[in-house]
């Protein structure tokens, strides 16, 4: 725990992106294994699995060819190699699609399946230790096996004078890949392998299906004929297509009528009116954003509710002055009660003074506000309990603190950010907000 005074801040969202990436990956994986998903997602999953299985099959066949050509591998050895790659992928979290090319590279040099597997495991450890890509490390190791140790020594200078290159490397990096395996990658890999297995099961069915639809008179031909019919308005399909076109035209008409309703029959005018109304509501939305920023400054949701209650219970006073607070006639703030299910405790006063034309008041409202400013409840004629006294007044640069109840903030044009800054400055200066903000009586 320490007290930190920020002097200069920086913006760097790479960490957040990384964190989001991890969760995104998890979400994708959970989605892929079908937790809480519908039929369409399951269909997607099957197609995706089939695709993955197809890619995996291609990559496996490529490696197996390498094994047979370079190391005269038997069927048993090929099967064992597949299992080895799968197991390694699960243990280290490295994708099997990355492992196979490296394995192929090593088997071409070593001409021996067992030796290639041994060096692949070593490459993974070295890759985990140095942080270099597996492809680069396996190239260095295969070159070293062939007698050129320059690249490997660049990665591990300590091996420069080594007599037992791979033995010494094993001593340095042995077991690092499994130790440093990222749990997310391992999980994702497991799911990928599951998907590939699922895909492998349905791949023959898909192959049959493709053969069926592409045969003469099959689905592809039938769809082609349908599309031809569609472009002909005299055919049945063409008639349906024309109906759809008309339906879209009608729908557009309804939208036009909707806007015309707000513009005395003129759709463009109606759209303009709606847009203007939205723009006028913008300051209120910005003020709400300000409240959200206040709440996010480490305060609880209850405090957010209180802040909103302050604004919603507001009575406008004078020229551009807003006074918020008070229990209301019922002694409770209905909005806040609705929000957090609790009554507002005590009376809270917060004075926001703006220099712009915030709200025009009727003479009655102004008179009522003047009474409120004197600290008297206009409904009961009694003074507010512990609420309005000599306040804390801030005028842009500083505060003068007299009591702990009121905060008066002068900000130009009610800029929410300026309000938030002023309140946070007040909190830092005074060691927090007045207790009334936490729902406490003084």
């Amino acid at each position: 725990m320490s007290v930190i005074v920020k002097l200069l801040s920086k913006f760097d969202d790479s960490g957040i992106k990384k964190a989001k990436g991890s969760f995104g990956g998890l979400k994708k994986t959970i989605g892929a294994i079908g937790i809480g998903i519908g039929i369409s997602q399951i269909t997607d999953l099957l197609m995706e699995s089939a695709k993955a299985a197809s890619a995996d099959k291609k990559s496996t066949e490529l490696l197996n060819t390498q094994l047979v050509r370079n190391a005269n591998a038997t069927k048993t050895q090929i099967k064992q190699s597949d299992n080895f790659i799968e197991k390694l992928s699960l243990q280290t979290g490295v994708m099997d699609d990355d492992l196979r090319p490296s394995m192929g590279k090593l088997v071409r040099v070593t001409k021996d399946v067992d030796k290639a597997q041994e060096l692949l495991a070593l490459s993974l450890d070295a890759s985990a230790t140095t942080g270099k890509p597996l492809e680069k490390v396996s190239t260095a190791i295969s070159a070293a096996f062939a007698g050129n140790k320059t690249q490997l020594v660049k990665l591990f200078p300590v091996l420069k004078d080594s007599k037992d290159l791979f033995g010494d490397l094993e001593k340095i990096v042995g077991g690092a890949a499994i130790q440093q395996a990222d749990p997310f990658s391992k999980f994702n890999n497991s799911m990928d392998i599951l998907k590939e297995k699922l895909g492998a099961a349905i791949l023959p069915l898909i192959e049959d299906f493709v053969a069926e639809i592409t045969k003469p008179g099959g689905l592809i031909e039938q769809v082609g004929k349908f599309l031809e019919d569609l472009s002909n308005p005299k055919s049945e399909a063409g008639k349906v297509f024309t109906d759809i076109k008309n339906a879209v035209k009608d729908a557009f008409g309804y939208v036009k009528d909707f806007f015309a309703f707000f513009g005395n029959g003129d759709a463009v005018e109606g759209f303009k009116n709606i847009a203007t109304a939205l723009i006028q509501a913008l300051p209120a939305l910005l003020a709400l954003k300000g409240i959200m920023m206040l709440a996010s400054a480490g305060k609880s949701i209850a405090n957010l509710a209180k802040a909103i209650a302050l604004m919603t219970g507001a009575n406008a006073v004078g020229d551009g002055t807003i006074v918020g607070g008070g229990k209301g006639k019922t002694g409770k703030a209905p909005f806040m009660s609705k929000l957090i299910g609790l009554p507002v405790i005590g009376t809270v006063a917060m004075v926001l003074t703006t220099s712009g034309d915030t709200k025009q008041m009727t003479p009655e409202e102004a008179a009522r506000a003047a009474i409120i400013r004197k600290g008297i409840n206009p409904d009961t004629g009694l003074p507010y309990k512990g609420a309005f006294g000599a306040g804390i007044f801030a005028s842009g640069k500083g505060f003068q603190a007299n009591t702990n109840n009121n905060i008066t903030i002068n900000v130009q044009s009610a800029d929410p950010k300026a309000v938030v800054d002023a309140v946070s400055k007040y909190a830092k200066n005074n060691g927090g907000l007045p207790p009334i903000f936490f729902g406490k009586k003084n």
Binding site: V5, L7, L8, S9, F11, G15, I16, K18, P435
Partner: protein
């Protein structure tokens, strides 16, 4: 009160190290020198004597982590310059001052909260093969009262506030100076 935000600090600092070894160190040193005024202000604002001691409680904590001057000097203020990002927030401190003494921090932050404990029992933890929790007591209230009456709480920020704008501007200028160096070298 809004802090200035630098958008490419990490890239600038990285480029500095690549352009000439030692430039990054010089940037940090210059920034620290600029922050000296704020450091002195905080140091002078920290109480010179143990603020927790009172006539009612004259016993001094001389061994515990929260003892005044135990482990760390009470008026130690460290300058930190870090370009590391965070997984929680996109805007983080590039240059900051840290007061690390637990006792000083305790005194400074005392009374800044709502005064209402969030929970009545602490989190459980294992201790000698058992699980322990603690009841949250109200004994801190008298400590806060004592610190408030002696005006020995909430001193760090009010102490440094005056010098902050000047120091912030200076550090920003220093960073801009080094950024200009990077730009000159790259272009």
């Amino acid at each position: 009160m809004a802090d200035d935000i630098v958008y490419n600090a990490k890239e600038i600092v990285k480029a500095l190290s690549e352009i000439e070894p030692g430039l990054k160190r010089a940037l940090v040193k210059d920034s620290r020198d600029a922050a000296e005024e704020a450091i002195s202000a905080i140091k002078s604002a920290i109480p010179k004597v143990n603020p927790f001691e009172s006539k009612v409680r004259p016993v001094t904590n001389t061994r515990g982590r929260l003892g005044w001057g135990v482990g760390k000097k009470p008026d130690e203020v460290k300058f930190s310059f870090t370009t590391k990002g965070s997984r929680r927030s996109a805007v983080t401190a590039l240059a900051s001052l840290k007061v690390n003494s637990p006792a000083t921090v305790l005194a400074d932050t005392a009374g800044k909260g709502s005064g209402t404990p969030r929970r009545s029992v602490t989190n459980s933890y294992t201790w000698k093969g058992q699980t322990r929790t603690h009841r949250v007591t109200t004994q801190g209230k008298s400590m806060i009262r004592h610190l408030r009456s002696n005006r020995t709480n909430n001193f760090v920020y009010p102490g440094v506030e005056k010098s902050l704008p000047r120091v912030q501007a200076e550090i920003k200028l220093i960073l801009e100076k080094y950024a200009a160096k990077v730009n000159r070298k790259l272009n």
